[in-house]
């Protein structure tokens, strides 16, 4: 008997089955089931820079849930926690190319980087479409980036997709949209913790053992190990563990504060955590200009949360407030 309790049919078909659901629930999107690419229904939008992203599945609503006006033009879904293959990004790039170039938003994981890189080379050789890739790498849990593959791309990716999407909607050229995306990434830092592991459907058992009285601080979004394991703490103490390393890494004055759920933690706890994060920021002289609370970049059924802070200037705030209409984020329209 399996200990896995999941609402699935066949573990091997989870991604395909979920995409069928996405297509039926969101008729304004167009789903290429063969390539596993989700497009906004009217792609390519003439004259607008196209935005695509993608990565392993299991982080929903990221990325397909952020496809729509004001955000992404297409998202490529890999297998659970496995990077998509270049064919998918090539198809997506061609499918969203409205004649003004295409921005690739890539989370800093070795597999994602290489597959997006190959896709860009194939597109360049094939159609000559101009492609710029922006890598997100905001996870301060990775301390020694000289001797590792570098900081992982986590929470800031959601904000990069929203803000760069708004810049593209203003009709700005590819280089500008890429510069905005880079600015958000450079101004953003994140840190996460897990209360439980997650269970990959194909594996059928939790990725790591976490005793009932312990939590793992400094996790990524795939159940990879964190910085340290500590006894389960209160929300106030947890907020300290997450916010202190972020404030230690970058100077903040006025921020977009994003408290993210990892998939298995209820919203009520995320709000408890947000209150504690806000208290620390106030004590540190940092004001909160905008906020986002909820599960937006998840790790399947993992219980836990992450905090992302982005230092926001007027441009970032204006683009953050711009209209967006996607399954995962929707305002102003």
């Amino acid at each position: 008997m399996s200990a896995m309790k999941k609402l699935i049919n066949d573990p091997a078909n989870v991604v395909a089955d979920a995409l069928r659901g996405v297509a039926l629930a969101h008729p304004e999107l167009r789903v290429d089931h063969e390539q596993k690419v989700v497009y906004r229904g009217d792609a390519p939008v003439r004259g607008k820079v196209g935005l695509i992203s993608g990565g392993g599945s299991g982080h929903e609503p990221l990325h397909a849930g952020f496809v729509g006006p004001g955000m992404l033009d297409a998202a490529c879904a890999g297998e659970v926690f496995t990077s998509p293959v270049p064919d998918q990004m090539v198809a997506a790039t061609k499918g969203v190319d409205g004649g003004s170039g295409v921005l690739h938003i890539v989370k800093n994981y070795t597999g994602d980087i290489m597959n997006f890189e190959m896709a860009a080379e194939i597109v360049a050789a094939d159609t000559g479409t101009e492609v710029i890739a922006v890598i997100t790498n905001d996870d301060v849990a990775v301390e020694d980036s000289l001797y590792t593959a570098g900081r992982r791309g986590v929470g800031v990716t959601v904000l990069v997709e929203k803000i760069a999407g708004a810049a593209a909607d203003e009709g700005r050229p590819l280089a500008d949209v890429a510069a905005v995306a880079r600015k958000v990434n450079e101004n953003g830092r994140s840190m996460g913790l897990a209360l439980t592991s997650c269970t990959v459907p194909a594996a059928g058992k939790p990725t790591f053992d976490l005793p009932a009285d312990q939590m793992e601080v400094g996790i990524g979004i795939h159940g990879e190990p964190g910085r340290r394991r500590v006894p389960v703490a209160s929300a106030a103490e947890a907020a300290e563990m997450l916010v202190t390393p972020i404030l230690g890494d970058l100077t903040y004055k006025n921020v977009i504060a994003f408290v993210n759920g990892m998939g298995g933690t209820p919203l009520i706890e995320l709000y408890v955590l947000f209150a504690e994060v806000a208290a620390i920021l106030e004590k540190s002289g940092v004001s909160i200009a905008r906020s986002l609370v909820g599960p937006y970049i998840t790790s399947l059924d993992m219980a836990g949360a992450s905090v992302t802070l982005v230092e926001a200037d007027d441009e970032i705030l204006r683009l953050w407030d711009a209209p967006v209409r996607t399954p995962g984020l929707r305002w102003g329209i």
């Binding site: 890999g78 496995t82 597999g111 290489m114 590792t148």
Partner: protein, 211 residues
Amino acid sequence: MADTVGTEALHAWIREFARLIAEHKDLLTELDSAIGDADHGVNLHRGMSAVVEVLAKETPGRPGELLKRTGMTLVSTVGGASGPLYGTAFLRMSAIAGDAETLDGADLARVLRAALDGVVARGKAQAGDKTMYDALAPAVESLEESIAAGQPLGEALDGALRAAEQGRAATIAMVARKGRASYLGERSAGHQDPGATSVTLLVAAAAAALA
């Protein structure tokens, strides 16, 4: 066998590599669960099975075309980091093989050097980073030296295999600096690298099928 190889021999090499990957699938996945994300065996097996199927359906006429088809199929089916790394290696080999109908020992050494250069270009790995580079680089160097010294191809490939095996064993003590294993820092030491293990199978397949 003679000291030149044609499409048929290279096809046998690819099939032998696929067979070795299938045979060692669980070992590769086990090594990868210790320091990575437990999918190296499954992903490479899926890719090489697809390659064998593609090549069986329509066997290309020349070595360069065979290597290209292999690389393209791996890129499209493997995913993760190993898809682009192995895919790039085969595509670079194909570029060196060009339109030639057969390859001699010196050609093969250049072909495998191109594979190594491709892995470096794609993965940015250096010696000692605990990656496939640490097994493939000594194999390529050994092959180049043996061929330059006038050794027959069979002996030269056997020497390359021994060099790969030594390089693979050396990865056990290394601390990973690339890929997901790098996030473990010192905790990655004491484990043999899965990529160094699979690429040693590629050299073993060459020693078995090309000599």
